[in-house]
């Protein structure tokens, strides 16, 4: 029997080198009857799959997932998470919020689980997430809950993009670029031209607007580096207070990542074509003007002015301000 195993292997190698079954079997006539069905089966097994390659999209998704995991591990290593709220206050807030949710009816929380930004139940969903975080004292469980919530934010952005909604969003993710396009985790994004782009693998906190073109226009972002996390994402341009869902903030020129975030002469001419290429082509002229204004303002005015405006914007009583301020996310810091 051992000989037959060896014979089979020899025949398989000959087939692999281009010989056909008849020729191979002719060399071993005494075992041909036994070998023939096995060689036929080997051809079937080889034909079962031709050279299958994964789609570029699958490769990119897997890459982003891996780099996201690396960023999470790195972040957990560098910055042991600290609770910003003392234990007693946490308990008091937890009790109050839990009572509120229970009194409002248990179905409310369940019904809100699939709510998206802009929907009436969305604040309930975010509030319930905060309650769960407040009630989770175990560090590991808290970390995994935070990750779950971050994934939920990404999922929401995906859904808003699929529905071509134009809404303000914020989320966490890993910065990657591939073939000239920029992604934060799985979300395709465009950054204003002239922005110093993060480096591959950076964990970002991004605020921006979903568009009907399948990507998010980033209005501000922050690179999260463990203990260096600041309380507010760094504004890229002066944001316009949001009074109307249909009105986007002042639009900066967007950077696809092809110039690596370095400002070029073309920046001032607004001829840089972002990726995707048809971004804001309808209001290109307005955008020129706005951009010039933005540039002049950002050069002439102090940074604190920007911060003041961001703060004013965040503190506005607009119900959407709840969505623009992710709380208790990431490193246990209030952002």
């Amino acid at each position: 029997m051992n000989n037959l195993y060896d014979l089979l292997e020899i025949c398989l190698q000959e087939l692999e080198n281009g010989a056909d079954v008849k020729t191979v079997l002719a060399r071993y006539p005494e075992s041909a009857d036994e070998l023939r069905p096995l060689l036929m089966a080997s051809i079937a097994a080889r034909k079962r799959t031709s050279a299958q390659i994964p789609s570029p999209e699958a490769i990119r998704r897997g890459r982003a997932k891996l780099l996201q995991r690396a960023a999470e591990i790195r972040e957990a290593r560098i910055a042991p998470r600290k609770r910003m709220i003392p234990l007693f206050q946490r308990l008091a807030i937890s009790f109050t919020l839990t009572a509120t949710f229970l009194l409002s009816g248990t179905g409310l929380v369940g019904a809100s689980s699939s709510a998206l930004p802009g929907q009436k139940l969305y604040p309930v969903k975010r509030g319930w997430e905060d309650v769960r975080l407040l009630l989770t004292f175990n560090e590991d469980k808290r970390n995994s809950l935070e990750q779950e919530i971050e994934s939920e934010r990404l999922q929401e952005v995906d859904e808003l993009l699929a529905e071509a909604e134009h809404l303000q969003v914020d989320f966490f993710g890993v910065f990657t670029s591939k073939d000239g396009a920029i992604y934060v985790s799985n979300v395709q994004t465009i950054f204003p031209v002239g922005t110093q782009l993060p480096i591959e693998g950076d964990m970002l906190h991004v605020a921006g607007w979903t568009t009907d073109k399948g990507y998010v226009e980033v209005s501000s972002f922050e690179v999260l580096q463990g203990a260096l996390i600041s309380s507010t994402p760094k504004p890229i341009s002066t944001p316009t207070p949001v009074n109307d869902e249909e009105t986007p903030p002042t639009q900066p020129i967007y950077n696809s990542g092809e110039n690596d975030g370095q400002p070029t002469e073309e920046d001032t001419n607004v001829e840089i074509t972002p990726v995707p290429t048809d971004v804001h082509k309808d209001d290109g002229k307005d955008k020129n003007e706005k951009d010039d204004i933005n540039k002049n303002e950002s050069e002439s005015e102090s940074e604190s002015h920007n911060k003041d405006e961001v703060e004013k914007h965040n503190q506005s009583n607009d119900k959407k301000s709840r969505e623009s301020l992710p709380r208790f996310l990431f490193c246990g810091k209030t952002i």
Binding site: D20, A44, R48, T49, P54, S55
Partner: protein, 181 residues
């Protein structure tokens, strides 16, 4: 382990994004192809293949570095993940594999025949044991040598020869008399 693999592992332990990206780019397609051969579903193959790399990263962090070479470790881990998937699937059956099996070798002529043959082979393959499936995937899906297959399966070469013999015999029994020449 090659010097490149050692260098890659050091980078993975340090969470160097460039090394992580380079390891992924080098091996993802190979791992994906193996998993696709085993599970026959492109979406599932993508998920499992990317999970394997996350496991590699986590394994490198906890000091459980691959004992053999990186490729061997990745394919071996992919095999475990596939086996876990099938265990769960048998406990909670959802859908037939054949329904989601893509036309893996689309031809212009005789496409229907080809599809039918694929279905027969896929059904036959699904009935093999885990080890037999693994041996066929490595030998005929990946095109690995007997020695490479033996290293990944942690068996000696003679054992793999016997295994591939039995796997092909079982496959042929299930397929029946079909001429694939």
């Amino acid at each position: 382990m090659s010097i490149d693999d050692k260098h890659a592992l050091e980078g993975l332990q340090k969470l160097d994004p460039q090394t992580i990206g380079a390891v992924y780019d080098q091996y993802f397609s190979e791992v994906y192809r193996y998993v696709l051969y085993r599970v026959g579903d492109q979406t599932l193959a993508e998920d499992i293949a990317s999970d394997v790399f996350v496991r590699l990263l986590e394994s490198a962090q906890s000091g459980r570095t691959p004992q053999t070479n990186l490729k061997g470790w990745l394919i071996g881990t992919a095999s475990h993940v596939v086996a876990d998937h099938f265990r769960k699937k048998y406990r909670h059956p959802e859908e037939e594999i054949l329904d989601s099996m893509p036309d893996l070798a689309p031809g212009i002529a005789a496409e229907v025949d080809q599809r039918e043959q694929n279905n027969v082979v896929n059904a036959a393959y699904a009935k093999l044991t885990d080890e037999q499936q693994q041996a066929l995937a490595l030998r005929f899906g990946q095109g690995y040598s007997l020695e490479e297959t033996a290293a990944i399966m942690k068996k000696n070469v003679n054992a793999v020869k016997a295994l591939q013999f039995r796997a092909l015999a079982a496959l042929q029994r299930e397929i029946g008399e079909v001429n694939y020449e």
